[in-house]
């Protein structure tokens, strides 16, 4: 509610500011078109504004978006994504994968860390094992658990990871416990980047924090670390010795803002080239105010209301779950969110889903019929259903509109907005009936949604619905072992269809991100994982 009041103020302010600005000439100056592009112009400082502060520049702590965004420019790993999200070599020149279990990587020779030392297979072994060292306290170490011996290392039972072997300085072998076709994607995550041992050890516990000396932030990526003003700014400079595409920009300054209106005011004052992820509620206004300067990207993310499949009233009552899904009108939600949302039809966002989704809902009559079949005609005997969510402006708005839609179908929903800490506690303990959850892809593959959220082996991890279906488990396991891409996709299609038939959640929408660019920005692209690679970006005069 607080957020609502605040945005109310904001609009009053906008009105005031419009009055103040009438007749100001700076605006018309901005209208001037930049003359035709004669190809990329090197040089310049790119000022990148973001509203979430980066927490760490240690790849082991690349669990949050801002750290990843900046870190991916400093560090790189064996494999990377190209602009079309295809896996391409980074430090690895090529790789062999015979059975989705043993991967052999052949490293490029002569690639260098920022301090001039050559990158070898031993560095990769060190970096990956470091992630699994319990002393590192890596939030993302879980992604390497498919590697043989990773679990034992993380539990502190061993000193080395048996599945990672240096064959020679330019050959690295990684063995998995079980086949996992998506494993290459894991290695493309910026968290799996190579770090330089001496620098890491020199910085000690301070590695990757603003307290460490700047020389210790050593990667092998297109940009080098320059400075860090905590909670204010991280700045990077071009790595002229980069083995890949050398960036055009001299420097990138990532600037952090706590208040959304402040970042927009800085943009207006001309001190930013890019505003990352406009806050919902300000998008419509910003798009109309700066025509042609905003960019809208569909995200590989899903926003949904999950059911607790282990507790009444949803346990063993498919009809009730279907009734709710049918009553919810996804289109109305997307409209309410100013179309900053794509109505969801399935478990996996449409960008990478192969399955034919469920309907978009909003069918009151059918919902009433399903509710009667569920044993609660007209909602009688059902009582109030608790919907838990972490408090935010968007979550509150969505919860209210869904409450309204369900009331019309005879289902009464009790909205329980919670502080994030308390909310996660309840999710993990299964102290839920219906709860909001969001999931973004870690890699552009259906596996990134289906496996962590719905494999029964993930109960206790991210399968917070306590969903368990042997047939789905089998399909997901089989897909991880399948070599043929087409066949794999077919297996995921089948698995998704089965999950949808069980309806463990009401899928509401896929997120949309809208960014704001200055007139001089060229070559900027947002990839499907919401990352903005800076190596091809340049600034016009």
């Amino acid at each position: 509610m607080k957020g609502k009041i605040r945005s109310g103020f904001f609009f009053t302010l906008l009105a005031v500011s419009f009055l103040l600005l009438t007749g100001c000439s700076a605006e018309s100056g901005l209208q001037r078109e930049v003359a035709g592009a004669d190809g990329p112009r090197p040089g310049g400082v790119f000022r990148f504004g973001m509203t979430v502060e980066a927490q760490s520049l240690d790849p082991a702590h690349f669990y949050e978006a801002s750290g990843i965004e900046i870190g991916k420019e400093i560090y790189d790993g064996l494999i990377a994504y190209d602009r079309d999200m295809q896996l391409v070599p980074a430090h690895a020149e090529g790789w062999e994968n015979r059975d989705n279990m043993t991967y052999v990587f052949h490293l490029k020779k002569g690639t260098k860390f920022h301090n001039g030392r050559e990158v070898t297979a031993a560095d990769f072994k060190y970096s990956l094992e470091r992630l699994l060292d319990p002393k590192t306290k890596s939030e993302i170490s879980g992604m390497l658990l498919p590697v043989q011996g990773a679990g034992a290392r993380l539990a502190g039972k061993t000193q080395e990871v048996s599945g990672i072997k240096v064959k020679d300085p330019y050959t690295l072998e990684i063995k998995l416990e079980k086949p996992f076709a998506g494993f290459l994607y894991v290695l493309a995550h910026p968290g799996a980047s190579v770090v330089e041992r001496q620098s890491v050890e020199a910085a000690g516990k301070d590695f990757g924090t603003p307290a460490a000396s700047p020389e210790t932030v050593v990667g092998s990526g297109p940009f080098k670390f320059k400075s860090w003003q905590p909670a204010m700014e991280i700045s990077l400079v071009r790595n002229d010795a980069y083995y890949g595409n050398k960036p055009y920009l001299d420097e990138v300054e990532y600037k952090f803002f706590k208040e959304e209106s402040t970042v927009l005011n800085e943009y207006r004052a001309g001190s930013l080239d890019f505003v990352d992820r406009l806050p919902p509620g300000l998008v419509k206004h910003t798009v109309s105010r700066y025509p042609g300067l905003t960019r809208r990207t569909e995200q590989l993310s899903q926003y949904f209301y999950a059911f607790n499949m282990d507790k009444p009233p949803f346990k063993d009552n498919l009809k009730l779950r279907q009734a709710i899904s049918t009553a919810v009108d996804r289109n109305a939600i997307a409209t309410m969110l100013e179309r900053e949302a794509v109505p969801a039809t399935g478990v996996v966002p449409r960008g990478i889903s192969a399955a034919a989704g469920a309907g978009l809902g909003g069918d009151r009559r059918k919902a009433a019929q399903l509710l009667a079949e569920a044993g609660y005609p007209g909602g009688q005997g059902l009582g109030e259903i608790e919907l838990k969510y972490n408090i935010s402006e968007v979550n509150q708005k969505v919860a209210e509109i869904v409450q309204e839609q369900l009331r019309a179908a005879g289902i009464s929903l009790k909205l329980v907005g919670m502080e994030p800490g308390a909310f996660i506690n309840d999710l993990v303990k299964g102290n839920t009936q219906m709860f909001r959850f969001g999931w973004g892809a870690d890699y552009p593959d259906p596996d990134s949604f289906l496996y962590p959220l719905y494999h029964s082996g993930q109960i206790g991890n991210n399968n917070l619905s306590f969903y368990s279906n042997q047939a789905v488990d089998d399909l997901l396991d089989k897909a991880r072992g399948e070599q043929d891409a087409g066949k794999r996709l077919e297996l995921y299609r089948l698995a998704e269809a089965k999950i949808l038939a069980d309806m463990p959640a009401v899928y509401l929408y896929s997120g949309v991100e809208t960014d704001l660019l200055s007139r001089r920005v060229r070559g900027m692209a947002v990839n499907k994982l919401d990352l903005k690679p800076m190596d091809r970006v340049w600034l016009a005069e």
Binding site: R6, F9, F10, L13, V16, S17, L20, L21, C24, Q55, S56, H61, Y63, E64, P134, K135, K137, S138, E139, I140, S141, G142, M143, L145, G151, L154, A155, G156, K205, D206, G208, T209, P210, A211, P230, A231, M232, F256, F257, K258, E259, S261, T262, N265, E266, R268, A269, S271, E419, P420, G421, A422, I424, N425, V428, G438, G440, G460, N461, N462
Partner: protein, 307 residues
């Protein structure tokens, strides 16, 4: 005087320690697991267990509190769960910003509030008095967020003479707008207090006598009236200054100043226990110090007050 000081210092020490215990208990009672919050959606159980053990969170709260005290004795506040660096490093970055904002804010508040109040009292029931009164009402009732944004839009965007936000190279120019934003509500209060207190003083016999001696009006007001009228403001100003050290969170956010208030608020939301502990400790210490200084200042201003 010395005995008074020593006693006050002793009490302050106990108070500050008491506050750390209280904060420790509160942080442990409120639901929310730091490691869960940290890992967000990466809820891998093996990693969770490893991090929890590594942070010592598997130990009972009283053991962790004892460890905190033991570290504190060595001036070690521990390491942030989220930022992974030492809490002392976090505070070293944040506290100077907060301190500057507080100093700028309180100085501006006094510079605006006192003359306005004196003027209103001397020109009682004139247009000037009504103007000051209106300013006070506006200043007291304007929300910090709105005030901050309005100042930002007018001075930084429309006039373009001051920076929008941030601390740039750390110069005072960056603290002007945020300082003004926190100063105006305080100044409004001071103007009212000063007016009331000045009106009272103006009616005192010594003031009438001073005027009767034929001293110039200006000298009577500032030399004889002001010094007596300003006393209540010292207490209020001291409290406000201490309050600004931890409470200017909204202004710090609007002007993007990563001060201590903001750091602690974020840390509470993230359940970053060490940062909350260390931050509150510093704030509490600053608070009692400021109060002590105010008391001493008071004694200096009014020779009748002796401890």
């Amino acid at each position: 005087m010395l005995r008074f000081m020593l006693r006050r210092l002793g009490i302050s020490f106990v108070v500050v320690l008491g506050i750390t215990l209280l904060v420790f208990l509160v942080m442990n009672v409120i639901p929310g697991d730091p490691v869960r919050l940290l890992m967000g959606r990466y809820m891998e159980q093996t990693a969770y267990t490893a991090i929890r053990a590594e942070l010592g969170l598997d130990q009972p709260w009283w053991q962790r509190y004892l460890l905190f005290l033991r570290q504190l004795a060595a001036l070690d506040l521990g390491r942030s769960f989220v930022q992974h660096r030492e809490v002392t490093s976090v505070i070293r970055d944040a506290f100077p910003i907060t301190l500057r904002l507080g100093v700028t804010g309180i100085a501006m508040a006094l510079l605006i509030g006192i003359p306005a109040g004196v003027l209103a009292a001397v020109r009682k029931n004139t247009l000037v008095d009504r103007g000051v009164n209106l300013f006070s009402y506006l200043g007291i009732s304007a929300p910090a967020f709105l005030l901050g944004l309005l100042l930002q839009m007018f001075f930084a965007l429309t006039l373009g003479i001051l920076p929008v936000s941030g601390i740039g190279d750390g110069g005072w120019v960056y603290y002007f707008l945020p300082g003004l934003a926190v100063a105006l509500p305080c100044a409004a209060v001071y103007a009212r207090m000063m007016r009331a207190s000045m009106l009272e003083v103006l009616q005192q016999n010594y003031m009438v006598a001073a005027t009767g001696y034929g001293l110039p009006q200006r000298r009577v007001i500032w030399r004889h009236g002001f010094k007596n009228a300003v006393l209540p403001l010292v207490t209020q100003g001291g409290m406000d200054f201490a309050g600004l050290l931890g409470g200017a969170v909204i202004t710090e956010s609007v002007f993007n100043l990563p001060g201590l208030g903001r750091v602690i608020l974020t840390a509470v939301l993230q359940r970053d226990y060490p940062v909350v502990q260390g931050g509150v400790l510093v704030l509490a210490a600053a608070f009692v110090t400021v109060n002590l200084l105010v008391d001493l200042f008071y004694a200096w201003l009014d020779p009748r007050i002796r401890y």
